[in-house]
């Protein structure tokens, strides 16, 4: 059975199509694998019956969509009807929405089942999964000869760990400032954040509305294309959703990059990044050259302002988006207090973790009278400049290649300084601010045996070139390392 759990979605689909195995066998294999991997703490809730029901529909021919019989892990940020949806937070503990997010509804329409909800940083705020109210996810990866528990990255850490450990063939993630790409890199899998607006945000618990985008995480570039096609699409319930047809990304996959120019941004060579990562970057350039592309040096002059800009805009939006968790209508309410204000403070003090509180305070501060212009308005202006940087760059290139993260996975509890933690997203955040599609593809292992990712940023709506460049790297990197099972 374990061989089923190591297959890509494309292979599972092929096997199901040729009746080599049944959807029920697939679901059961993953359900058992999930049940046996509790140590990883990747799932916050398991829904084996859901996966089995979808398998039944596929086996009986009722479900015929692109994902018929494929069970998936769903990040706990997506509202799933009748199933706990908590965004990794105490404040939503036990919350069962009476509605299903558009993205998961799309996946279900395509025939996918749900293995369970995946652990994550609280409200998607974090880069290590350590801010989850359920405790951290333990990465299936370990350093050579070490038993130290590593983080799978974040915030989609449960998703990354689940795919890497073979307890989900694919998973949904969300990316606000790198939350799909950094954990994908840490876990040696693929993950793509599409152009802002491709995936509906309806039913996805909001962190920072102008940045949040859902996307798939899976073992291969092809799997990402398959999943993204099912997830994406115009949704009239989300005003920021793009009213465009979903391209046939999978059918148009091609690793032939002839005529394509790959931008290499000078500003992404930053101090303190391990040589191994820069070496991998250089190898990535060579692989794309081998695929027919021409490397060109580009400038993204406002890159160094991206992180501070992000850490003004994202907390500002979050401070407002999270105001609804007030104990009045749903979720946690601390009783035994005298006034409404007391109930708010007690509920929010108990319901939110330290990182969420920090960001709410930062966001509240930057929006305050007297500080608004100096912080928020300025950040919006810088964001416009960063977008312009990319517009200029894409005059000269078709896709941009950078490292995904400035380090490999680190140990749980190793990074305690919030600012050091924020640096994880230094390469990921500019594309988020610009709303551009971006993907992490595994490139190799570092000296300690941990995966490193390469990062591709595409022009608006050009997921295809990102996926194609990702495929070219995947074919040439020959990355097939999987964590040794210790759990």
């Amino acid at each position: 059975m374990s061989e089923l759990t190591s297959k890509t979605i494309a292979d599972l689909r092929r096997g199901l199509g040729s009746r080599e195995f049944s959807a029920r066998e697939v679901a059961e294999a993953f359900n058992s694998a999930v049940a046996a991997a509790k140590t990883l703490n990747a799932y916050t809730i398991e829904t084996p019956e859901d996966a089995l029901a979808a398998a039944e529909a596929a086996d009986s021919g009722k479900a015929t969509g692109a994902l018929a019989g494929i069970p998936l892990g769903i990040k706990d940020l997506f509202a799933t009807e009748g199933v706990d949806t908590t965004a990794g937070s105490r404040i939503l503990k036990g919350f069962k929405p009476p509605y299903e997010s558009t993205v998961t509804a799309n996946l279900r329409k395509a025939g996918a089942g749900m293995l369970g909800k995946l652990n994550m940083d609280e409200f998607a705020m974090g880069s290590s999964n350590e801010t989850s109210a359920y405790g951290p996810v333990i990465s299936p990866w370990r350093r050579h000869g070490s038993n130290v528990g590593l983080t799978p990255g974040g915030s989609s850490g449960g998703s990354a760990a689940a795919v890497a450990a073979g307890i989900a063939p694919g998973a949904t993630g969300t990316d606000t400032g790198g939350s799909i790409r950094q954990p994908a890199a840490f876990a040696g899998i693929c993950g793509i954040k599409p152009t802002y607006g491709r995936c509906s945000r309806w039913g996805v618990v909001a962190f920072a509305s102008s940045l949040d985008q859902a996307g798939p995480m899976a073992k291969s570039v092809r799997d990402c294309a398959i999943l993204l096609e099912a997830m994406a699409g115009f949704d009239p319930k989300d005003s920021t959703s793009l009213d465009l047809p979903v391209p046939q990304w999978e059918a148009n996959l091609s690793s032939d990059l002839s005529g394509k120019r790959v931008g290499i941004p000078t500003e992404y060579r930053i101090d303190g990044v391990p040589a191994e990562i820069n070496d991998l970057w250089d190898r990535g350039i060579q692989w794309l050259r081998d695929a027919g592309a021409t490397p060109v040096t580009i400038r993204l002059p406002h890159t160094k302002y991206a992180l501070p800009t992000y850490y003004i805009i994202a907390p500002a939006e979050a401070s407002s988006n999270l105001a609804r968790y007030d104990g009045v209508r749903y979720g946690l309410r601390v009783e035994g207090v005298k006034t409404l204000d007391d109930m708010y403070s007690a509920t929010r003090a108990e319901g939110f973790g330290a990182e969420v509180k920090r960001r709410i305070m930062i966001g509240t501060y930057v929006l305050s009278a007297g500080f608004y212009d100096a912080y928020f308005t300025k950040a919006q202006k810088v964001r416009a400049l960063i977008k312009q940087d990319f517009r200029d760059a894409f005059e000269q290139c078709d896709v941009i290649l950078t490292p995904t993260a400035p380090s490999a996975a680190f140990g749980i509890g190793e990074t305690t300084d919030p600012l050091a933690m924020y640096l994880n997203d230094v390469f990921a955040v500019p594309a988020s601010l610009a709303g551009l599609p971006a993907m992490s593809v595994p490139g190799g292992l570092d000296g300690q045996g941990l995966p490193l990712g390469l990062h591709l940023i595409g022009n608006e709506l050009d997921e295809q070139t990102v996926l194609n460049a990702g495929l070219a790297i995947e074919e040439r990197a020959g990355f097939n390392a999987r964590p040794e099972k210790w759990w």
Partner: protein, 493 residues
């Protein structure tokens, strides 16, 4: 109020004070049955929490989607107020915590409102066209209403009703251009009339679909503007005028006693007729406005704007001028256009062919009187415009006299019969038979020979007496003009 033309002044111990008033009117967009950003219904008086969508309750992951019809109604309203329509506007979040505000923020428009500057003309003393005054509109923005707290349901807890939550409001902000309670009242009445003409808001202040925040300050005439207070949620024209009156006097007293006005929010107590402090500037919220990232900027194209403009009805001022041009007196024209239902009814009367002047007099004197007596609204008038036209036609062509017309109208009100049929069946037709009239006149003069003497001796006022007696003798059916003519001939002959 003071004599027309004389400015309104508060007489204090240190001399006269001028009052400066600005109104922020919240008008619910009642033209649509659904809320500003969700599909939920908006009927007044529904059971608590039965008109609440997932969006209104701010469930996790829910998103607002602008309601096109709400935007359209706000644009039409702006056009009716002669205001600049901003083809590019944007929604902002106004952040604060309260139990009636599920999102923890109100979606409003601070930085880029949908509608910019405009103005309306008000007639402060409606019988006197001379005191027309223009009141500036600063802006109209569109925003969500909040829910309601119910404090009387439980001994120690408050309940929340979210039915009103997310309902579309237009906030219509005036310039501080008003200078008296009467002006504030006239402005509010005129604004309400325009909204009701446009159809965007039903103007129902009792049900809360229109309410005003009243900004008041006082100063020495034409001096520097004073510090203002804002009295929130005042829900009738009368109360608005009372707030201005009370607040201006209170401020003058404070200032003359050496005190200072603090910028604060106040509440009006209709039972006591006073305002009291709700919160001062010190505990005012910092609303942390910022553009709502869930919503794209609102961009209106020319086709949309053209449709909005094209769908506007004739507005009160234009209608009043048209009526005046038809020979209707300014007073009647202004009464007939003050309420959209009256104007619609009167237009139907004109369409049915009634003579404008005669029809206007009749509506203002007879129809209004009858409706008042019967406690009926003009839409529910038992006499239709077509029936009224028939009645007026019978007067105009001399079939019946004005006096008989009153009788016929009363019968119409009771029986619903047509005027001509009533005249016919009851034999009320006016007679122009000079022989019959002469015969009756002769009898009247013979029976009142002493008065004839007095008349001939110069007591001309007795003429009316002879007319009355003749009409009485003919049961009111004689053509009054003929009676006059024949009488005069006989008395002078």
């Amino acid at each position: 109020m003071a004599d027309a033309g004389a400015p309104f002044r508060i007489k204090g111990e240190t001399g006269e004070w001028e009052v400066v008033i600005g109104l922020e009117v919240h008008a619910q967009i009642t033209a649509t049955a659904s809320k500003l950003f969700s599909g939920a219904a908006t009927a007044f008086g529904a059971e608590p929490n039965t008109q609440v969508s997932l969006v209104d309750a701010a469930m996790p992951g829910m998103l607002p989607v602008p309601n096109r019809e709400c935007i359209r109604q706000a644009v039409r309203t702006g056009m009716a107020l002669d205001a600049k329509i901003n083809a590019w506007s944007r929604f902002d979040r106004k952040n604060y915590f309260y139990a009636d505000l599920p999102q923890g923020y109100q979606i409003s428009q601070l930085y880029h409102p949908l509608v910019g500057e405009g103005e309306i003309e008000v007639l402060v003393d409606e019988k006197d066209d001379v005191s027309a005054k223009r009141i500036g509109i600063e802006r109209i923005h569109v925003e969500q209403d909040a829910g309601k707290l119910m404090h009387d349901q439980h001994a120690t807890m408050s309940y929340v009703d979210l039915n009103r939550c997310g309902v579309a409001l237009m906030e219509i902000v005036s310039r501080p251009d008003m200078r008296s309670p009467a002006e504030a009242g006239a402005y509010l009445r005129k604004l309400r009339a325009i909204l009701r003409y446009v159809g965007s808001c039903d103007g129902n202040m009792e049900e809360g679909s229109m309410r005003a925040d009243v900004n008041v300050s006082v100063r020495k005439p034409d001096g520097e503007l004073g510090t203002r207070t804002e009295t929130k949620n005042v829900n009738s024209v009368r109360f608005v005028m009372a707030v201005v009156e009370h607040e201006a006097k209170r401020q003058v007293e404070v200032l003359e006693n050496g005190g200072q006005i603090v910028q604060e929010t106040r509440l009006f107590d209709p039972d006591k007729g006073v305002t009291r402090t709700l919160r001062t500037k010190e505990d005012a919220h910092d609303y942390r406005y910022f553009p709502d990232p869930d919503l794209l900027p609102l961009e209106l194209d020319d086709a949309f704007l053209d449709e909005c403009r094209g769908s506007l009805p004739e507005l009160p001022d234009a209608k009043r001028k048209r009526y005046e041009a038809l020979g209707i007196t300014p007073y009647n024209a202004s009464v007939l256009t003050a309420e959209v239902e009256t104007a619609r009814w009167f237009d139907a009367l004109l369409d049915a062919g009634a003579e404008p002047k005669q029809a206007a007099n009749w509506v203002v004197a007879e129809l209004f009187g009858a409706l008042n007596r019967r406690g009926e609204s003009i839409e529910a008038s038992p006499v239709s415009p077509a029936q009224a036209t028939e009645l007026l036609g019978l007067v105009a062509d001399g079939t019946i006299s004005g006096t008989i017309a009153k009788q016929v109208f009363e019968i119409m009100l009771e029986s619903g019969e047509g005027a001509a049929a009533i005249v016919e069946s009851r034999g009320l037709k006016q007679t122009s038979d000079t022989g019959a009239i002469d015969a009756e006149i002769d009898k009247v003069l013979a029976a009142n020979a002493d008065k004839v003497e007095q008349y001939k001796a110069g007591k001309e006022a007795l003429f009316g007496f002879f007319v009355g007696q003749t009409m009485k003798a003919m049961a009111g059916k004689a053509n009054p003009q003929l009676v006059n003519e024949r009488l005069r001939a006989k008395l002078t002959g």
